[in-house]
């Protein structure tokens, strides 16, 4: 090797070493930022829109809570408390909700919050393209008799309305956003933080700075928040293990062990259920499914513990009910109404006249691995329910909600209030009552839940839950765990009615 070659190689090696050393020294430095506190929050869902009338919620709530206030808020246990509204009251018919708003709130552009602005936001949400727009579908008007009084009138009672007003339906943006072409990417709210659009990369990283004029300064725990979207589970875990995140949801409970090994604290909670909707209760599509004994047989055929272990590593709770843990309808005795009993399933099928079994066509789709459908098929085939999976491609939801199948497998959320669940999938007009079955008992009990006094409504909700479980309207399998992790130095309180802790409940450890 010549001298020149040696020299060249030495210089190159030195250059590489220097570069690495410099980069190690240059990591986003606590020294530079030690005067300010920053929450580095991982988010597992991209933000669809900052425009309140298009806003989603759940996993997207942190993006929105940073810049907006809602009319009401909820405590971690789901109790509704003050937000922009300091008081609220139903009339006797429970169709008119009157809210008193704060008079000291300004949006980031200096516009004052008034009841008329709030009313306009509500109307826009009702008429907008948020998937939760139906929350306000029953709202006939939102009026502002004065600057601090907001009157919401409903066509029929809706006991879940206060909860909706604590979520995306209650997001209040500045009127300057209403006709702005940039409303989706440039929020103007009254919230605890302001979006730094220069540092933000839409769809990837959102940087917020604390709003020094915020009316609820006690709920602001950081000078800055950096929210980073992680679509890839490996990238998320690399960021966790690399110490780049202070708190995040996990995309799967199977990541919990890895996160805890990296020094994070994991909190688990259950906010979804997975299983089957046995939609064809009238037997219109498949006559067999119109018989309650057949639907009960379907439930007995499922080895729920085995499925939970096989599909989610045991990370969840088996169940046979679809109401949420925090709802008034929930009854833990109904979590095991249908123990695994293939023999009982066959007996019921024989009683119903299907001793030789029957064929049930259900949709498969690309959201779920083929192996999952194979496991379900095996258990149902074993009792005589021969499953034929029909591939649906991209047209799944159109056909699903159009009532194409007698039954189908899905993952749905459990709602914080009983009325939300009833409205979502049990009423004849409910989108997820895909066969639009009108059951008089369900309708009668639902009406009490909707309009009755609290004690009566709660009792009716429990009775309705027991009824739909007994009638086997569904075949839930389990409630999978969700997990939220926090690094040392950060703590969070799980929100019972949301996929992510509310932003003001994520704070530095004291």
């Amino acid at each position: 090797m010549t001298h020149r070659t040696k020299l060249a190689l030495t210089v190159a090696a030195g250059g590489l070493a220097t570069a690495l050393a410099l980069t190690a020294c240059s990591s986003p430095s606590a020294t530079e930022e030690e005067a300010e506190t920053t929450l580095r929050l991982g988010v597992v869902t991209q933000l669809s829109s900052f425009a309140p009338w298009e806003a989603s919620w759940a996993n997207e709530s942190p993006y929105l809570q940073a810049v907006y206030d809602t009319l009401l808020r909820t405590e971690p246990d789901g109790t509704v408390i003050e937000g922009l509204a300091t008081a609220w009251e139903w009339d006797d018919a429970r169709t008119v909700l009157t809210l008193t708003l704060r008079d000291d709130v300004e949006f980031a552009d200096g516009t004052a919050l008034t009841a008329q602005v709030a009313a306009d936001n509500l109307v826009r949400f009702r008429d907008g393209t948020s998937q939760n727009a139906p929350f306000l579908a029953g709202m006939t008007s939102a009026e502002a008799p004065d600057d601090t009084t907001l009157v919401i009138t409903l066509a029929e009672p809706d006991p879940a309305l206060p909860v909706y007003l604590s979520q995306n339906a209650g997001l209040i943006g500045s009127p300057a956003m209403f006709d702005s072409p940039d409303a989706q990417t440039t929020p103007i709210g009254s919230g605890p933080y302001v979006l730094d659009t220069d540092k933000t990369v839409v769809g990837s990283t959102y940087v917020y700075e604390a709003n020094d004029e915020y009316w609820d300064s006690e709920s602001v725990h950081y000078d800055n928040i950096v929210m980073t979207f992680y679509g890839d589970p490996t990238a998320l875990m690399n960021a966790v293990k690399g110490g780049q995140i202070d708190a995040t949801n996990l995309q799967s409970p199977t990541q919990i062990a890895e996160a805890e090994a990296a020094g994070f604290t994991a909190q688990t909670y259950e906010q979804n259920w997975t299983g089957f909707l046995l939609a064809d209760r009238d037997g219109t599509i498949n006559p067999a499914m119109g018989d309650v004994r057949v639907r009960q047989a379907f439930n007995y055929a499922l080895d729920r513990e085995g499925l939970l272990q096989a599909l989610d590593g045991g990370l969840g709770t088996v169940t046979t009910q679809v109401f949420g843990l925090s709802s008034s309808a929930y009854d833990d005795a109904l979590d095991d109404r249908y123990p695994y009993d293939p023999e009982r399933a066959r007996e019921l099928l024989a009683e119903a006249g299907y001793a030789d079994g029957f064929t049930l066509v259900m949709p498969s789709n690309n959201f779920v691995p083929e192996s999952v459908f194979a496991i379900y098929k095996e258990q149902l085939d074993a009792v005589g329910i021969t499953v034929e999976w029909e591939p649906t491609g991209d047209d799944l939801f159109g056909r699903l909600l159009g009532g194409s199948w007698a039954a189908f497998s899905f993952l749905l959320q459990t709602d914080p209030t009983s009325w939300q669940t009833i409205q979502f999938s049990m009423l004849p007009e409910s989108a997820w009552n895909t066969s639009h079955v009108a059951d008089p008992t369900v309708i009668e009990l639902a009406q009490i839940v909707r309009s009755g006094e609290e004690a009566d409504a709660d009792a009716a909700a429990r009775e309705l839950n027991a009824y739909v479980v007994e009638q086997a309207w569904y075949a839930p399998v389990y409630r999978p765990y969700s997990a939220f992790i926090t690094a040392e130095g950060t703590e969070a309180t799980i929100q019972s009615d949301n996929a992510v802790p509310y932003l003001w409940n994520i704070r530095p450890t004291e």
């Binding site: 010549t2 020149r4 570069a19 690495l20 410099l22 980069t23 190690a24 020294c25 240059s26 990591s27 986003p28 991209q46 933000l47 669809s48 829109s49 425009a51 989603s56 907008g128 393209t129 948020s130 998937q131 727009a133 139906p134 940039d182 409303a183 989706q184 990417t185 990369v201 839409v202 769809g203 990837s204 990283t205 980073t228 992680y230 679509g231 890839d232 490996t234 990238a235 690399n238 960021a239 293990k241 690399g242 110490g243 780049q244 491609g393 991209d394 047209d395 799944l396 939801f397 159109g398 909600l401 159009g402 749905l412 989108a431 997820w432």
Partner: protein, 313 residues
């Protein structure tokens, strides 16, 4: 030369137009439930219908095409259906990230690949064997695996650099370098292997030619012989491969950007495709086609500079 450039540009523009038309119709005809993907899986049918109307998806496809094409010719690629951000703005914010990655990778590839190829061709023996084995391994190992190993060792294990994320060059040069160095290495490995082999092969062929023996007989120093004559004459094929590798790297950037969570075009391509965000996908198609056009033109011009015979033909 000017005529050559203009001719190539005209052909390139025609190519971009053709790709855009084909891409548009393929995307639209293959799209299902786009509005539902935007508003949410559990959205009620009336909400989906509202969104469809808002986005103009209920219009005939030909009308939608001419609407898009007319705007595109005026430089307006529309807005992302999912985020509402203007497509040009979205691409402009992400293009520097991908260019940092791919230009860095191609420079590293050119330098390291050439050095290895020259060493292999001139040293022979164990050096040549090592380069060949290394090239084989480098070509065989998937890029994402290299990326994961690099993250595990240097970011998570040694914590020398961040595991994910991107710091802009304008914010901090050393910060930018810290976030881009591992992705560049991950993206380069396969290309270095390819270039090293190409340079090695071309040089071995060139070293056997009579003019080399003549130059040696005239007393030309070996170093000057290798770098001023042999390498220059051998560079043509390697340059063509380098051009192709640059284009391949744009595809490879998709995986690397996902692993390192870099907010570049690759990450955007994945999410836009999954979401069915057609305006954004169309913008990506147009930008990518233009980049390929410019790369091919640059390769041709450099080939012409290296080898005058190419200019004459």
């Amino acid at each position: 030369m000017l005529t050559f450039i203009l001719r190539r540009l005209a052909a390139g523009v025609l190519t971009v137009l053709t790709i855009s038309v084909l891409g548009f119709f393929l995307l639209y005809l293959g799209a299902r439930d786009t509005a539902r993907r935007i508003v949410g899986d559990t959205a009620a049918p009336e909400i989906v219908a509202r969104k469809q109307q808002e986005l103009g998806l209920d219009r005939p496809i030909v009308v939608q095409f001419f609407d898009w094409a007319g705007s595109a010719l005026r430089g307006d690629l529309g807005r992302s259906w999912f985020s509402g951000q203007p497509v040009t703005e979205a691409l402009a914010s992400r293009l520097p990230v991908t260019l940092s990655l791919t230009i860095g990778a191609i420079l590293l590839t050119a330098v390291v690949g050439t050095v290895l190829g020259v060493l292999a061709a001139t040293r022979r023996g164990w050096v040549d064997s090592s380069v060949q084995v290394g090239s084989f391994v480098g070509a065989a190992i998937p890029g994402f695996l290299v990326a994961l190993v690099l993250v595990l060792v240097f970011a998570i294990g040694l914590q020398w650099v961040p595991a994910t994320g991107y710091i802009r060059f304008t914010t901090s040069i050393t910060g930018w370098l810290s976030t881009i160095i591992l992705p560049i290495i991950a993206l380069s490995i396969g290309a270095i292997a390819s270039i090293a082999q190409q340079v090695r092969g071309s040089m071995l062929d060139a070293l056997r030619l009579d003019y080399v023996r003549t130059l040696r007989a005239r007393g030309i120093p070996n170093r000057r012989l290798i770098y001023d004559h042999v390498l220059r004459n051998s560079a043509g094929p390697a340059l063509s491969v380098l051009g192709i590798q640059f284009i391949v790297m744009f595809g490879g950037a998709v995986v690397v950007e996902q692993v390192f969570s870099l907010p570049g075009l690759g990450q955007t391509a994945v999410s836009a495709t999954i979401q069915g965000d057609i305006p954004l996908v169309m913008g990506l198609i147009v930008v990518t086609a233009l980049i390929v056009l410019l790369i091919n033109l640059a390769v041709d011009l450099i080939q012409g500079w290296l080898n005058p015979k190419v200019r004459l033909s």
